[in-house]
């Protein structure tokens, strides 16, 4: 399918992008979700603001106790980053299994988070890592905790005129972490994805993608696990999706299986 006519604007800097977004339109990064959705008329912005060439959005660095990933980093950049592999290995592992090489070379972490597909891989990982998403808007920059970021299916706390600039991930010494998923064979989208971070003190954080219409931290299960019980209440507080890939029953089963496998991996 072919998209309808639209305006294309390219931003050279974050401030320029924010100014252009204020005029209306949607930010275009890798375009791997936005362009297909425009072709299918599921999304119909009048203008696209291309943020793909903004140098400030690139790069991965350590800032004190935080790993800072530029929102314009591609999944491939993250998978191959020595800093990520050393400090937040789950991100490197997870990024390496997103889509296929073409997707990993174009798609970005910022784009994926802003799009907030409930089955995407990044949401579970940033939730379990307790990351912070930094955004820039007309009134300056603000930080949003990952746990406050995803509000509904394809909905986030990001305002229409805001741009994600970086993802800040706390670096925890001695933590073990993993991201495990049941992939859709054709797209590698997670039918169920489970991220687990186990701190040095043995406490775990658990997050799921693909299970519900909003990616979520499973606090009920965390409480059970952190008080020495077994995880019997997986996805108890959410409505579990049912579609042609997996029924609600099978999705619940998958959530349990992948939590078990993730816990084994961090044991």
């Amino acid at each position: 399918m072919i998209t309808y006519p639209f305006q294309y604007k390219r931003a050279g800097s974050i401030s320029e992008a924010v100014a252009l977004l204020a005029e209306g339109g949607k930010a275009l990064s890798g375009g791997h979700s936005l362009i297909p959705s425009m072709k299918l008329r599921l999304n119909a912005p009048d203008a696209l603001v291309d943020v793909g060439r903004i140098a400030e959005l690139k790069g991965i660095r350590l800032d004190g106790n935080e790993l800072v990933i530029g929102a314009g980093s591609t999944h491939g950049d993250i998978a191959s980053s020595g800093l990520v592999q050393q400090h937040v290995p789950m991100f490197a592992e997870g990024a390496g299994h997103i889509g296929d090489p073409a997707v990993r070379n174009r798609g970005t972490i910022g784009g994926s988070l802003a799009h907030a597909d409930p089955s995407a891989d990044w949401p579970a990982m940033v939730l379990a890592a307790d990351a912070t998403i930094v955004v820039e808007g007309p009134s300056g920059s603000r930080s949003i905790k990952a746990t406050d970021f995803f509000t509904s299916m394809f909905e986030t706390a990001l305002a229409a005129d805001e741009l994600i600039t970086e993802v800040r991930v706390p670096v925890e010494n001695g933590a073990r972490m993993t991201y495990q998923k049941f992939s859709q064979p054709a797209s590698r989208y997670a039918i169920v994805g489970c991220a687990v971070v186990k701190s040095a003190d043995g406490k775990v954080r658990v997050a799921f993608s693909g299970v519900s219409d909003t990616p979520f931290r499973d606090t009920a299960v965390e409480e059970q696990l952190n008080s020495g019980q077994s995880a019997t209440s997986v996805a108890s507080g959410v409505s579990v999706m049912s579609d042609h890939y997996a029924s609600e029953e099978y999705r619940r089963h998958l959530a349990n299986v992948f939590l078990k496998r993730a816990l084994n991996a961090v044991a």
């Binding site: 049941f182 099978y250 089963h253 078990k260 496998r261």
Partner: protein
């Protein structure tokens, strides 16, 4: 000594044309002022059209006409005229015939406009009202209406079930080990990538040139000529490239009828292409229910075998496939019974789909043999060998060749079958259960008559043609090889053309018979051309060939040479130059040797060994390794042949694990009529596929000794996978496809 190119792994001669877009398909041909037709499909399954409102559609710019049953031209009256060359017994479906709806998705109107977009939009505005009647589409709920299929013209290619032998009831009752089992599969659709399309170019004189997606241009020509009462000479059908057929192009589909009708009525060129959804509105592999009873001695010797199948068909034609015969030919069980019935339902007539009946029947018998092997505590391969037969028990005649034993041995060795631990669930790695399974494949090796023409141009280039098809199998390539080999020319000096009714007649491409059938015609016509060359040589002054007979010469390196003394040679170019500046032209017909062939059963065979990994927690199945050994006579081109076999193996994985058209019986409509929800394997599903060709010599099947390989690759795969899944999990799934919910 002079075999240069046959048996060599030659890359496709049409490969470059295909990847550069130079190869044109039916919908890519065009004509001045070409009109575009879009089909409106019925939304009910059974009943009558009570009202049609075409007003909104006709009011649009660019819309030329809306054809319905109310304004279609008068056409041929008798059913006979609508029977194409592959029509089963019955009364063929006639598009826009009357107000009756016979199946869901039936074409009910054709909107013709100046552009495709106009036609498509206008088609959405045609309003049709129906009076609905109750329909029946569920085979399993109507098994009580099963009956013998009508018999049509005696078909050599589709024999009836074999005659019963011995006393099955007695032998089964007395057998110390008994197995009664059943297998079911649902609807499947061919889904070639290329959509069915016909571009009908309307000539000044009213003559038609039709670019059609078909597996046999002559069949389309025949159909159009009969239905529209046009002489053959005024209908030329051209189909040089086909983007996959798998059987769906064996019969003319309704877009051909509609495009020809519109072009003739409007006296203008018209193209009609179907949508992907409409690709689910004609033939399909029929849903089939099978039952098998096996009675055996404790040592595995089969005493009793019964194989019964019931398949669906339409209300208007009795589609038949050969399902139960294979088991009777493969195993020598002295007491055997066979039965095949059909259940007419409110849907379109099924249609041959890659190894029709063969993959269906073999999937059942080879799973049943696996079940029996566990009952006996016997290795599944041992059980096959125990009941191996060197003679066809159905017909009590020998096989023209049967290297199945070598297939079993070589494939088992390549696979490492002896390392198998026989107990189910006994091989695992962590949460992954590993299973090894095997099965047998059998398929026909038929030959039909065919014609071909050969021309040696004044420049010494060879042009060979025959009105066959290449549906992606490699026909262009192997025919080029055969022609080049026969006349000792390099491949680049040979051009083989096909898919045009102006060329000499050949049967449709189907049933794995093209290599043997058209190949024989090409070989013979090139030999005839060689004989003409010899005549020219003999007439030359002081010719060293003066007394030579055709058997005394051979052709190599663009020369004719004497076998007795290869230094006696003459350039083909020199011979062409003797022909008074004219090209040398021969046409020939290859006939089948029915007397000789009729004394033998002619089959290709295969042995398939498969490894699966099943995730115990998730029920997901991965076919991690598969080895197929094929005995198919002489292999003309190991590269294109291997492609055919691995294509069949991939489809076998699809059939075993993924593929099914699911019907909502409340509406009589297929729910997953698109390639997103009609699941087939993606690259990530395919792992190691290994193909072995076992040496096999056959003087009977055809003059080339080849057996086609288009279908044998799929036949054994589904059963081998199902058997491997049982070995991995201990679960016997009786319904294909084996989706993960059936393993949970």
């Amino acid at each position: 000594m002079h075999n240069q190119v046959i048996g060599k792994p030659i890359s496709r001669v049409d490969g470059r044309a295909k990847v550069t877009g130079k190869a044109k398909y039916a919908a890519e041909f065009t004509a001045p002022d070409l009109l575009h037709g879009v089909v409106v499909s019925s939304t009910i399954t059974k009943g009558r059209i009570t009202h049609i409102d075409t007003g909104d559609a006709l009011a649009l710019d660019g819309v030329v006409k809306v054809f319905t049953h109310q304004n279609r031209p008068k056409l041929a009256w008798f059913d006979m005229s609508y029977k194409d060359l592959d029509a089963p017994p019955g009364s063929p479906f006639r598009p826009l015939h009357n107000d009756r709806i016979k199946y869901n998705g039936q074409p009910v109107a054709l909107v013709v406009a100046e552009t495709f977009e106009q036609a498509r939009y206008a088609a959405s505005l045609v309003k049709i009202e129906y009076a609905q009647e109750p329909h029946e589409t569920d085979l399993q709920h109507h098994l009580d209406t099963a009956r013998k299929p009508a018999s049509g013209l005696a078909s050599l290619l589709k024999p009836p079930p074999p005659k019963a032998r011995g006393n099955f009831d007695k032998a089964f009752t007395e057998a110390p080990v008994q197995l009664s089992t059943g297998y079911v599969h649902g609807f499947e659709h061919h889904n070639p990538m290329e959509l069915f399309s016909s571009t009908v170019v309307y000539g000044k004189d009213g003559k038609l040139t039709i670019y059609d997606k078909t597996q046999g241009a002559p069949n389309s020509q025949f159909y159009v000529s009969q239905v529209f009462n046009i002489p053959f000479r005024d209908v030329r059908v051209v189909s040089p490239y086909v983007g996959g057929g798998f059987g769906s192009g064996l019969r003319p589909q309704y877009q051909l009828f509609l495009a020809v009708m519109a072009a003739r009525e409007l006296k203008q060129s018209v193209r009609v292409s179907l949508t992907r959804q409409q690709m689910f509105t004609f033939g399909h592999r029929p849903a089939t229910v099978q039952h098998i009873d096996l009675g055996a001695q404790p040592d595995g010797t089969l005493d009793a075998l019964r194989h019964a199948a019931t398949a669906e068909t339409s209300r208007f034609e009795d589609y038949i496939e050969v399902v139960v015969n294979w088991s009777g030919a493969l195993y020598k069980a002295p007491n055997a019974q066979f039965d095949y019935n059909v259940v007419p339902l409110d849907q379109y007539t099924p249609l041959d789909m890659r190894a029709p009946g063969g993959v269906t029947g073999m999937s059942a018998i080879e799973c049943a043999m696996d079940e029996l092997s566990y009952k006996l505590g016997m290795d599944p391969l041992e059980l096959r060998l125990k009941n191996y037969t060197e003679e066809d028990p159905n017909e009590k005649r020998p096989f023209s060749s049967k290297q199945l034993r070598a297939c079993y041995q070589q494939a088992a060795e390549r696979f490492g079958w002896t390392k198998r631990s026989p107990e189910p669930r006994s091989m695992r790695e962590g949460h992954t259960l590993i299973g090894w399974g095997m099965a047998t494949g059998v398929w026909d090796a038929n030959q039909l008559p065919a014609r071909a023409e050969a021309v040696l141009t004044v420049n010494g280039k060879l042009r060979v043609s025959s009105a066959t098809a290449d549906i992606g199998t490699g026909t262009y390539t192997i025919m080029t090889q055969i022609a080049a080999d026969t006349l000792g020319l390099p491949l680049e000096d040979v051009l083989f053309r096909l898919g045009d009714t102006d060329m000499p007649l050949a049967p449709f491409q189907g049933g794995s018979l093209t290599a043997g059938t058209v190949g024989s015609a090409v070989k013979i016509v090139c030999e005839d051309l060689g004989k003409e060359l010899l005549k020219l040589a003999r007439k030359m002054p002081n010719s060293p060939f003066a007394k030579a007979k055709f058997d005394d010469v051979f052709f190599v390196e663009k020369q004719m040479r004497l076998k007795a003394d290869p230094s006696v040679r003459i350039d083909l170019q020199t011979l062409v130059d003797q022909n008074g500046g004219r090209a040398i032209r021969t046409t020939a017909t290859s006939m089948t040797n029915s007397l000789k062939q009729g004394k033998y059963t002619r089959y290709a065979h295969s042995a398939v060994f498969v490894e699966v990994q099943v995730d115990e927690d998730l029920g997901t199945v991965k076919v991690t390794r598969a080895v197929t050994a094929v005995a198919a006579g002489r292999i003309l081109n190991p590269k294109t042949a291997r492609s055919q076999i691995i294509g069949g193996m991939v489809w076998g994985i699809s059939k075993a694990l993924e593929e099914e058209t699911v019907m909502d019986h409340r509406y009589g409509r297929f729910m997953n009529h698109n390639l997103a929800e009609y699941h087939v394997p993606v690259c990530a599903d395919i792992h190691e596929l290994d193909v072995l060709f076992v040496e096999e010599h056959d003087d009977v099947v055809n003059p080339l000794g080849v057996k086609g390989v288009g279908e044998i690759g799929i036949v054994g795969m589904p059963a081998a996978i199902a058997n491997a899944i049982f070995h991995a999990t201990g679960k016997r799934v009786h319904e294909l496809p084996i989706t993960l919910d059936k393993l949970m």
